[in-house]
Amino acid sequence: MENNKVTNILLSGVGGQGAILASNILAHVFVEAGYDVKKSEVHGMAQRGGDVTTHFRYGKKVYSPLIPYGGVDFLLAFELVEALRYINHCKPEARIVMNDQKILPPAVNLGLAEYPEGIPATFRQYFKENVHVVKGQEIALSLGNAQAANVVLVGAFSNFFPEIARDLWIGALMDLLPKKIHDLNIKAFDKGKETL
């Protein structure tokens, strides 16, 4: 079944970070590029500060909505611990973009647990130069709105798919976002793209 290669993208983050929008952008782009896609959101109660992960898969024909454990080709993480939580899910040759942001889990807030340090270094130990840390918030803020951090990350992530033209990404942003924030998000995408 080599001819039906399915590519696996895992998005992880905390509720409210915009991971859902990012996965909608991916779905839009890869459908436009002619692929079959499946997307599955996994969240208990995201509105209440829980973690959110989205399994996104594309290929000629996709069956399972879930990525087999250990089968992630690309990881897009919006928060550092939420990246680390899925390190075992990645293939040895996986490529990773992670946002340089910490959102403290409740146990850390209450002083009952520690936030793991050196997460990018842990990733580099296994994935070497395939690990990219992006200052999503900082870049988005420099453009005037921290909310656009998710699109900065998508911009960085888009470098992993050179076969997909920039137009398709921009088209997805225009289709999915309200008009008055198009300019901001196109800038965010391009700034993100420049980071790797």
């Binding site: 079944m1 039906n4 905390v14 779905a27 839009h28 459908v31 079959d36 896609v37 499946k38 997307k39 599955s40 959101e41 996994v42 208990g44 109660m45 509105q47 209440r48 500060g49 829980g50 973690d51 996709v62 069956y63 399972s64 909505p65 879930l66 087999p68 454990y69 250990g70 611990v81 680390l84 939580r85 390190i87 075992n88 899910h89 040895p92 403290l104 889990p105 409740p106 146990a107 850390v108 807030n109 209450l110 002083g111 647990a113 520690e114 936030y115 793991p116 842990t122 296994y126």
Partner: protein, 598 residues
């Protein structure tokens, strides 16, 4: 045209294309988005019902009038709807009648993990099981056709990974139903289920099942794919998708209809394939039936887990045994701090449960956001069974404890839960002279499942203004004499009222006011102050406020002393951007170190 749709959106679209005109549901994960989507179709009268039983009754009434009608619910909703459902299987339908029942393997957001396929066998009605969004749409439409062709309600089984997954769906146009609208009194013998009529319909059911069995053998979505003649898998729905992913070269018998089973097709599969494996989530439903037909099943629940959800790797691991190569473990995920769900900052439930905790009450709880009060640090809710159970349980506990229980027992439930199943038990408490206190958390929405309207919010599914239940006059009519209102954010007063009512040797109801859900968009009245802040000169680091479990409050280690020289190990800090200013922590602090911000 093709479009990426969520499974639930695709079910709604299928219903619309099939010409449905009436749809009713009570929300429940993972089914809630079906009606939310239906709200957008002007041709469908879509509505939230107070519970699943009513939803099924509404849809069946529409069907008897000739309309194509849909009812939707999560798996446990079927327990509530079972009474009409089991007998509607006898009466049959007029306009196509489909019930969507969405399972939750792995219990992502439910109180149990029951396997809804058992209802199909139990009630003797057909069940279709889609595996992705495209099938959700197609199977919904087919379900209406089967319903009308065989004069039966049809079950459509959803589940978390199907309802909440998105994939490409081919959209087509709506076709109005061919069944004429109208009510015919001459059909009464079909719908009046008294013994003489029941016996007639009872036989009809058996004939219908025979016909459906024959139909299953030719049903276009029961599909045989012969690849490897050595090994084959029988599966349906999401389990098929996972198995196909794990073993693409095996042969497959994919069942689109999981009840009744296509006996001839199954026999043919066993003839064509040497070793047949049955891959299914939860119960050995297909396996039991197929073994009972006399087939020699190579593997089933002997290796495939009978609980939680399956995935491609669980299936691979189960079938490959030692040959399965486990991916490398780089970090032990158990070492990482988790992010359990928590009530929102400022949630009115947190305030109320803090009072209950301080009073040391045994709280018979219910299902909703407030169930989260069971978790540390609050740990102030002590049972959760099913919607509305809290009231009857509290009453029963009072009967068992007698005077000993006075001052110790209460039932707590949300507004949506109260309207779902709480009215009868309050009536019972009064009628049978119970003394328990029922607290209704009126946050003006169905919070847990994503802010759905209900009969107490004043709006319909489609956002139109509507009657709003008055809880006070309602429980008064049930005979409750002691009815109190509390503002949960006023801790001292709330505690006094609850204490008084729990100690009273008579039934009582307490209704919260000023407590809309924080996510509620419509009532954007904020609190008196925009946020609260910690005076770090004063904070003694006693951690009392941390007992609230408010996500806006955190602990900062910093040894030192307060301005007036009291030693401390650290201070708390309030995240201004997260705090909406409910003022609860300020009331809890004994050293007046939490102050309103401006």
């Amino acid at each position: 045209m093709k479009k990426v749709l969520q499974g639930n959106e695709a079910i709604a679209r299928g219903a619309w294309e099939a010409g449905v005109t009436v749809a009713a549901a009570y929300p429940g994960t993972p089914s809630s988005e079906i009606l939310a989507e239906i709200a957008g179709y002007k041709e469908i009268a879509g509505q939230w019902s107070p519970n699943e039983k009513v939803a099924v009754e509404v849809a069946s009434g529409a069907s008897i009038a000739g309309a194509r009608a849909l009812a939707c619910m999560k798996h446990v909703g079927m327990n509530v709807a079972a009474d009409p459902f089991m007998t509607l299987a006898y009466t049959g339908i007029k306009g196509g009648f489909v019930i969507v029942v969405a399972d939750d393997p792995n219990v992502h957001s439910s109180q149990n993990e029951q396997d809804s396929r058992n209802w199909a066998r139990f009630a003797k009605v057909p069940m279709l099981e889609p595996g992705d969004a495209a099938e959700c749409k197609d199977f919904t439409k087919m379900a209406f056709e089967i319903s009308e062709q065989f004069d039966t309600p049809v079950l459509l089984k959803g589940e978390t990974r199907v309802c909440h997954s998105d994939s490409l769906v081919e959209l087509t146009e709506r076709q109005e139903s061919k069944v004429a609208l109208g009510l015919d009194p001459k059909e009464a013998s079909k719908y009046v289920m008294v013994p003489a009529n029941v016996r007639v319909r009872r036989k009809t059911i058996e004939t219908r099942m025979k016909e459906l069995e024959a139909y299953a053998d030719v049903f276009s979505r029961n599909v045989m794919e012969i690849n490897d003649p050595e090994v084959g898998i029988i599966a349906a729905g999401a389990a098929y998708m996972y198995a196909k992913e794990a073993f693409p070269n095996y042969s497959f018998l994919k069942l689109g209809m999981v009840w009744p089973l296509p006996k001839k097709l199954i026999a043919e599969f066993f003839r064509k394939v040497k070793k047949v494996i049955i891959v299914e989530e939860l119960d050995p439903f297909l396996e039991t039936e197929i073994r009972a037909l006399g087939f020699n099943v190579y593997h089933g629940k002997d290796v495939i887990p009978n609980m939680f959800e399956l995935s491609p790797e669980i299936i691979a691991k189960s079938l490959m045994a030692e040959d399965y190569k486990e991916p490398e473990t780089r970090v032990d995920p158990n070492d990482l701090p988790r992010r359990p769900p928590n009530m929102c900052a400022g949630c009115p439930h947190r305030a109320l449960f803090y009072s209950l905790k301080k009073l040391g009450a045994f709280v018979f709880g219910d299902i909703g956001c407030y169930t989260l009060a069971f978790a540390p640090p609050l740990q102030a809710l002590h049972t959760t069974i099913c919607m509305g159970a809290s009231i009857g349980q509290a009453y029963g506990a009072g009967k068992a404890m007698g005077k000993e229980g006075l001052g110790k027992i209460c039932a707590v439930l949300g507004d949506s839960t109260f309207l779902h199943g709480g009215i009868g038990p309050v009536m019972d408490t009064v009628y049978n002279k119970g003394y328990s206190t029922t607290i209704i958390l009126d946050n003006r929405t169905t919070g847990m499942t994503g802010l759905q309207e209900h009969a107490g919010t004043g709006y319909t599914l489609k956002g139109e203004p509507a009657n709003m239940v008055n809880y006070e006059t309602l429980v008064q009519a049930l005979g409750v004499k002691n009815i109190r209102k509390v503002d949960p954010y006023k801790v001292k007063e709330t505690m006094e009222v609850i204490k008084e009512e729990m100690e009273r040797d008579d039934a009582s109801v307490i209704i919260t006011t000023n407590g809309p859900c924080m996510l509620h968009r419509r009532e954007k009245r904020g609190f008196e102050y925009p946020f609260y802040a910690v005076d770090t000169d004063m904070c003694r680091g006693c951690k009392v406020c941390l007992e609230l479990g408010c996500p806006a409050i955190s602990w900062v280690v910093s040894e030192g002393e307060t301005k007036d020289g009291k030693k401390r190990k650290g201070v708390v800090s309030i995240n201004k951007s997260q705090c909406p200013g409910c003022g609860l922590c300020a009331q809890v602090c004994k050293f007046e170190s939490i102050k309103a911000g401006a």
